[in-house]
């Protein structure tokens, strides 16, 4: 890498090489991109992989090509997309011919045909891994930031929040992939600023919402770890973007990040170092209070504070609530450990913010003795085994599909 740079730095720039530049020389462009230092947090796995392809071609390049690359460097080497539709034309044609269109992308009513035609107003560019020989930087294939934002809004309003598409696991899978492609376009074009922030904010909300709605689903339909990886990536990119300039929703997302990473000293330290204005906002203060209760190991307080969270905040923190409830039972098993004493089940259920029956079930799973109305705590009988059949999902607010769909659009866009 250094060698190439030193060669390029010493090459003479002549008029001849400038005139030799052709518009089709985008491939050299990507070669040059490979040697420039990259913004690491914006890197997706796909982009790292694209480097592998570049190295192979690099060896084939002659000196003349490197000279042309110097000229490119003197101009603007960052690709700027020109595709004004949600999906580039060539991709629509290609996938249509290969019958690889998603059923959400074909003309309504033609889903069952042998080769359904594409609906240009509904086709969305899919995510594809960069590979050797494949050029991901053609301007005609890249969507500019304004189109990316419109694409995201379409995905949220017309797909994720729609009540026509069932099951929601399929909706999730489609939207997840297309959002990933949107982020990929942003990375290639080094997009930053308000459009980037808006796209990331909606992505984060979508992924948080999905993590709650699909919690407990079978692994083939929803993998919480993959969702988590992408969510963390989006969050760290978003928080990095917040460093420059003012952003309307920053306090909200700082709070969400803290809640999603409850217990992480790094996350708390980050929030403590935020400017006073953001730290003192109600959202962040509430998130800090929840975090404090978690650090002090006060589950009673934590569960009480959790009642004050709004829906998307609950989505962010929900995976910690079941362990928190079990922790309460653990602490009480030790603190109230006595053969003769009893604790009222109803009161315990209130502390756990669960219905009596569910509270009793949780006790049983944790080895806490329960009779009809009373609980007997004993430190020796508490078991730390996994909840087994009792899943996080059982403790969610029960909502039917219609209620889910109604709230989805609002939740993901972030309107109160």
């Amino acid at each position: 890498m250094c060698k190439l740079q030193s060669i390029i730095n010493t090459l003479p720039l002549s008029d001849m090489t400038y005139n030799c530049m052709k518009p089709g020389d985008q491939s050299e462009l990507s070669l040059w991109l490979w040697t420039r230092p990259m913004n690491k947090t914006a890197m997706s796995i796909g982009w790292h992989q694209s480097r592998r392809g570049r190295g192979h071609r690099h060896k084939e390049q002659g000196r003349a090509n490197r000279e042309r690359v110097v000229e490119q460097k003197a101009e603007d080497p960052v690709p700027h997309g020109t595709c004004m539709t949600m999906c580039p034309a060539y991709e629509i044609r290609q996938r249509e011919a290969q019958n690889r269109l998603h059923r959400f992308e074909v003309v309504a009513g033609t889903e069952r045909e042998r080769l359904p035609p594409a609906d240009v107003s509904r086709a969305v560019k899919e995510y594809s891994r960069p590979a050797a020989g494949k050029d991901s930087t053609r301007a005609s294939d890249l969507r500019p930031p304004s189109v990316l934002l419109k694409t995201v809004c379409y995905l949220v309003d017309d797909i994720a929040a729609s009540s026509t598409f069932q099951p929601w696991t399929e909706v999730y899978s489609f939207v997840f992939d297309r959002l990933r492609s949107v982020r990929q376009d942003m990375i290639i074009q080094r997009v930053s600023g308000p459009d980037c922030v808006a796209v990331l904010e909606k992505s984060v909300r979508f992924l948080l919402y999905a993590s709650y709605r699909l919690c407990g689903q079978q692994l083939q339909y929803f993998d919480p770890r993959i969702n988590d990886t992408h969510l963390q990536e989006c969050l760290s990119w978003l928080l990095e973007s917040y460093r420059d300039g003012k952003h309307q929703h920053q306090d909200e997302f700082q709070a969400l990040s803290l809640l999603y990473n409850l217990g992480s000293s790094q996350a708390i330290q980050h929030v403590l170092e935020l400017p006073e204005r953001i730290r003192s906002s109600p959202a962040v203060q509430l998130a800090l209070a929840v975090s404090r209760a978690h650090m002090e190991r006060n589950p009673v307080r934590l569960l009480r504070l959790a009642q004050r969270l709004d829906f998307i905040q609950v989505c962010a923190v929900h995976r910690y609530l079941l362990p928190c409830r079990r922790d309460l039972l653990l602490l009480y098993s030790h603190g109230h450990s006595s053969r003769n004493c009893r604790y009222p089940l109803q009161r315990l259920a209130r502390l756990l913010f669960l219905k009596d029956a569910l509270a009793a079930e949780l006790c049983q799973v944790c080895g806490v003795n329960v009779t009809e109305e009373w609980v007997n705590f004993s430190k020796s009988s508490f078991t730390d085994a996994s909840s087994g059949d009792l899943q996080c999902r059982c403790m969610h607010e029960p909502l039917d599909d219609e209620q889910w769909n109604c709230s989805a659009g609002c939740v993901i866009h972030g309107c109160v």
Partner: protein, 441 residues
């Protein structure tokens, strides 16, 4: 003779340039001190030829310390305008063999860049210095005379990375940690060369360079907040047979960082061990370093129940801890909260705010112990604790939370007893219901 602080062999004349650290050899070799001043003055005016000759001689005679001074930014030669050149390559190539020619040329370019306050350029040049040095270093089979050079150039690399980042930040460009991470990668290459030196005998082994590099890497990792990267380095030292043979200074720095990492991992017993070692072995004249160590040692000790004396806090100018100490000792939650808020910025900047918050549970314990002593009974009404808390202006706690806090204290072993919800009482053991804090792991 070796300097206690720097742990390196160096000629006395070079001690003069070590402006901030105290060197014990200075005080004893008074006469040599005078000749050092003479040497220092002359260093600032030599010509390029003389400089290159001196470097060549140093290399040929394998004088690592002298050569290191010739390449270090602590030495006055860097202020010599005759050496601040933008393209000294030709001259260097004439006199020096590769890769030394490249190394020295890059060093001189670096002095030029620094004279223009261009730290980005300085950093780039220093990278070349380190890379060319490494080429030479790897070729030294079964010898380690060049270790002082490695120390000097890697230290400057880290410092320039810091300065370059600051420069970029002030212009609003550049991401925090980028340059430092790259510097860390370079240091890791050096480290690998040292760690893999299995052939040489112990006196000639490059392994003596490991701890210095690790300390440099720790400084970077702590700054960019990637503490998890410290783990493989700690493992490398733990498994090394040289770990107790390195100089005290290097070991003090090492234990300081390892202690801080242990704190971060909530392993407070280990943290206390490391930080105490660091504190007691740190040279008594390094007040600044002792204070730094104390900033982290104090919270750990307090969590284990040992409160610092006011005299100690005064001696090291750490009055921020006075109120915290008083509050925890008295069980005064109100004062603790106030103290944490008052010195919030300081505590957050040092990264100890979160640990100090952990003192809350200790404060609860101390408060409840007072209640126990006041009521002189083994069956304490829960209401009494609630009243005590309200007296401490802790308003938003109700009887359920009191039970939860007590349950937590019982679970952690700070209280021996149980809560009876029906009787609304805490029943404590007749024997030692509040065991001493130091006995709780």
């Amino acid at each position: 003779m070796a300097c206690v602080l720097l742990g390196q062999q160096h000629l006395c004349w070079s001690d003069v340039n070590v402006s901030q650290s105290f060197c014990c050899c200075l005080s004893r070799q008074h006469t040599r001190y005078h000749s050092c001043v003479f040497v220092e003055v002359s260093m600032a005016h030599i010509t390029l030829n003389q400089y290159l000759q001196q470097v060549l001689e140093a290399i040929e005679s394998r004088d690592g310390s002298f050569c290191a001074e010739m390449l270090s930014f602590k030495h006055p030669h860097v202020a010599n305008p005759r050496l601040q050149l933008s393209s000294p390559e030709e001259k260097c190539q004439q006199l020096l063999e590769p890769p030394y020619d490249e190394m020295v040329a890059a060093h001189l370019r670096c002095t030029f860049a620094v004279s223009n306050h261009d730290f980005m350029e300085a950093y780039k040049c220093q990278t070349v210095v380190v890379q060319s040095f490494l080429k030479a270093f790897q070729a030294h089979k079964e010898e380690n005379w060049a270790l002082p050079i490695m120390f000097a150039v890697t230290l400057d690399l880290r410092i320039f990375a810091n300065n370059a980042e600051q420069q970029l930040q002030s212009k609003g460009k550049g991401k925090v940690g980028d340059m430092l991470e790259k510097a860390a990668e370079q240091l890791m290459s050096c480290f690998r060369v040292c760690a893999s030196d299995n052939r040489a005998g112990i006196d000639d082994s490059k392994k003596w360079g490991m701890l210095f590099l690790i300390n440099q890497l720790f400084k970077i990792y702590f700054k960019i907040n990637k503490l998890h990267l410290c783990k493989p380095l700690i493992r490398a030292i733990d498994s090394s047979n040289l770990k107790d043979e390195y100089s005290t200074a290097q070991r003090v720095t090492y234990k300081y960082y390892v202690g801080r990492k242990a704190m971060f991992d909530s392993d407070f017993k280990q943290a206390e061990e490391y930080l105490s070692f660091s504190f007691t072995h740190c040279h008594r004249s390094s007040q600044r370093n002792k204070r730094l160590i104390l900033i982290y040692l104090l919270p750990v000790k307090m969590l284990l129940g040992h409160m610092p004396t006011p005299q100690l806090l005064q001696k090291y100018d750490l009055m921020q801890f006075t109120d915290v100490t008083k509050a925890v000792g008295e069980g005064n939650l109100l004062l603790l909260n106030e103290a944490l808020v008052k010195h919030e910025t300081f505590f957050i900047r040092c990264g100890i705010f979160l640990i100090l918050e952990k003192l809350k549970i200790i404060t609860f314990r101390n408060l409840f112990k007072k209640v126990y002593h006041l009521l002189k009974t083994h069956q304490l009404p829960l209401d009494a604790f609630l009243v005590a808390l309200k007296m401490m202006k802790v308003e938003d706690v109700d009887i359920d939370e009191v039970q939860c806090i007590l349950a937590n204290l019982i679970y952690m072993g700070h209280i021996k007893g149980y809560i009876s919800h029906q009787h609304q009482k805490l029943v404590v053991s007749k024997q030692n219901p509040f065991p001493p804090l130091s006995s709780i792991s």
